[in-house]
Amino acid sequence: MLVEIKKPKKVGIIPCNGEEICEGTLTRFASRKVLDELRPHETVTICLPLFIAGGQEERGFAKNFPTITVDGCSKRCSQISTEKLSSRPYHSIVVSELLREHNIKPPPSRRTITEKDQAAVDLIAGEIANKVDEILGNNQGG
């Protein structure tokens, strides 16, 4: 008997948005870059606290979409919250670890990013886009 396996069409990106740390700001900018520029037709996002503030629709989010969590630090708030309140993410990215691996310093301010910090945003956004492609089975590059 043949069973049709449907490929997902969209991937949910869930940044931690950490307000206290510079890496949290990077999760915002990188996630928006993926949503607005790199993979606009393949991605959606959700505000993480909506898992608490929202209804069943939000809590079922990760059951309907494969997700990638993007955390600023090793506390992994987004990954843990998504697992606890919705479903296990397909991939989890920790910005502080990724920057360390590539020898890139986080921005000096949590308020915004400058031209100098664009390399960090590009690195994280590229990592998210690659994971989106892996999940969807695409090979878009870039």
């Binding site: 950490g18 307000e19 206290e20 928006r32 606290p49 503030a53 506390k75 708030c77 919250s81 308020r111």
Partner: protein, 133 residues
């Protein structure tokens, strides 16, 4: 030592009002009231982080939400703590409709002006709370 005032913006990333609230809180905590005001990551409350939970339990809490879903307020209340004050960016915007932010993360001049006004409102709220003791 007296209580701190913990001001928590929502983590809104879908609309510009989330960023307006975030920028207003940074202005308040870093420029207007650095001695009195602090903030933390809202998501830390979602993982029951002991340090973040103690911060909201032991201090005065103001939440700043971008939209009517009030994620910041509800996240604090999910820990069993009622907020001392809850502000919404949309309510400030209704009084200043000419200050429409340009983009979600790039607020532009008008969006930053809206954030400044919100920060001033928050500053006044901090004054009120501190006078009450």
């Amino acid at each position: 030592m007296g209580k701190k005032i913990v001001v928590l913006p929502c983590s809104g990333i879908g609309k510009a009002f989330g960023e307006v609230g975030r920028q207003a809180v940074y202005s308040l905590a870093e420029e207007l009231r650095p001695e009195d005001v602090t903030t933390t990551c809202l998501a830390r409350l979602m993982i029951d982080d002991p340090e973040a939970k103690a911060l909201v339990k032991d201090n005065i809490v103001i939440t700043v939400d971008g939209c009517a879903l009030s994620c910041a307020q509800k996240s604090v209340e999910s820990t069993g703590r009622q907020v001392d004050s809850a502000m919404r960016v949309i309510d400030i915007f209704k009084k200043h409709k000419d200050l429409k932010p340009q983009g979600v993360l790039e607020l532009g001049e008008s969006g930053f002006k809206l954030a400044e006004i919100l920060a001033e409102n928050l500053n006044e709220e901090v004054d009120c709370i501190m006078k009450k003791g």
